[in-house]
Amino acid sequence: MGIEAAAKRAVKAPLMTTRGLSKQYVQRSAFSRNKFVIDAVAEADLEIAPECLTTLVGESGSGKSTLATCLALLERPDRGEIWFEQKEISRLSDRDLRPLRPRIQMVFQDSAGALNPRFSAAQIIAEPLEVQGRETGQGLRTRACELMEEVGLSPDWADRRPLEFSGGQRQRLAIARAIALKPALLILDESLSGLDLSTQAQIVNLLLDLRDKHALTYLLISHDLSLAEQVADFVVVMHQGKIVERGTRHDVFLRPRHPHTQQLVSACHVVEAAFRTAQAGGQP
């Protein structure tokens, strides 16, 4: 998708907005009464444009994953607001959240750990449908097979266990489960990080196809800038718990303003430049 199309979609109201979102972790020492307070996320203001791919980048320990678990309300933020589809959701009770849960889905990095090893592929995909009462009986399996086909897995493999699939196929399985309930927002926490470059490219292409088909919105968390450089509509940069920069891919990569972003972008370009020089036949 081009920059113009992204800009057009962004004109619509954001799907999710956060204001002053903060999350602290308190670590108690085992041997003394000392307490360490870690500001995992501090005063995060974020906007996620609908039907766009927003990439959240930052080094390890910058608070990306904490922010993601707060956005999915797997953890409650300490302070701040989360607006989702024009509703403030961070202080809703668990019961009031229940109808909203299917709208926000998450895909994790370690697909082997995220999928029940004793379930078959079809059972894994059908479980959320069953829990939410969307399908019953034979309908469950039929729908699971449809979803497998949609993410590029053969329905013939419906009875295989997750560990019989390769890493890339398992990640497709996790995506099939995540889209089973027709969510609006999909949060992908380093979902592509453990994969080979070629598998990564395949999964990214799958995500883009699914977005166009189902009007999905993605928040992709990654430490890999070169991926963001190629596919993101919007880029958000985190550093030490704070959001230090956000903007279109164009702005962040061509005109980074924060020194930390400049550092990340130039490191990413050093690698690519060395490769280009090698391809051109010159010496780096």
Binding site: M1, G2, I3, E59, S60, S166, G167, G168, Q169, S193, G194, D196, L197, S198, T199, Q200, A201, Q202, V204, N205, L208, H223, D224, L225, S226, E229, Q230, V231, R249, H250, F253, L254, Q263, L264, A267, C268, H269, V270, V271, E272, A274, F275, R276, T277, A278, Q279, A280, G281, Q283, P284
Partner: protein
Amino acid sequence: MSTPSDTVPTGASPLLSVRGLNVTYGRGRRSAPALCAVNFDLAPGEIVGILGESGSGKSTLALSLLGLLADKAIIEGSIVFQGQELLEARESCWQSIRGARISSIFQDPGLALSPVMRVGDQIAEVIRAHRPSNRKALKQECEAILREVRLPEVERVYNAYPHQLSGGQLHRISIAQALVCRPELIIADEPTRSLDVTVQMEILDVLRSINRKWGSALIFITHNPALLAGFADRVIVMYAGRIVEDGPATRVFRRPLHPYTKGLLQLIPGGSQQENVMQRGRLPAIPGSLTDADRLTQGCIFEPRCSARIALCQEESPTEIAPERGRRVSCFNYGD
């Protein structure tokens, strides 16, 4: 910074010579070939990058060069290291080689280090396993190697436990362990996967400077061709346990011959910064994936995913040819 040489060192006796290496896991009907007729030579001081997707046999190759394959693996062929046949070596012999003359750096240093031992002692342990030394000399050697891998605050790091150090620091510790006996060959199996780009570059820099200073040969295994540019002298591309292309890095990057190599190189954003940012549409992925069924069918194993396939590819498996001096490729329809 020395530039990778454009010529394949020939003539001088190789440091390592691998011939007809076959590795199969399991027996009978359920057996799975992991390496298939792998041949290559490594010159002293050479940096070779091994490139391939997961399942291509890269890690099996690393393990067989270290004599660390599981017992259930069936291994055939020959691995000659400095004139010694390693496949016939007994475990006692391996113990004097591993860590001292051939050492390894693995992917996850957090798992490779003991959590209950100070990292300095863990480095000293490697030296002690190979030659007698006294406490004072050991400590000096360890501190020297910590400086060599560019760790700051050597004194503090020496006395730290693994959990007190960052991921990047732990990586340097495991590199220090691999280097402390000044091995002739270092095998690095995806040592920078899951690291930030900045840390990745620093690690590559450390390895390159060690290679230049001590002349240790290096086998660097990765799935990311961008890391090998300007770093490796030679690139070996593996697919499904076979070497499909081998040649000097500069020439492979400038003009890849095998369609698979071309596909891998396309994955690196190659345009200018401006072009990458303006790119739209889908990424240039290689379609399909390697399946076990592919290994059994006749013809070229890459044929189902290949963009340059011809009629012959379905019937016959291509043999290796040397289209230029110092290069080889297994493909009927190689080149442009």
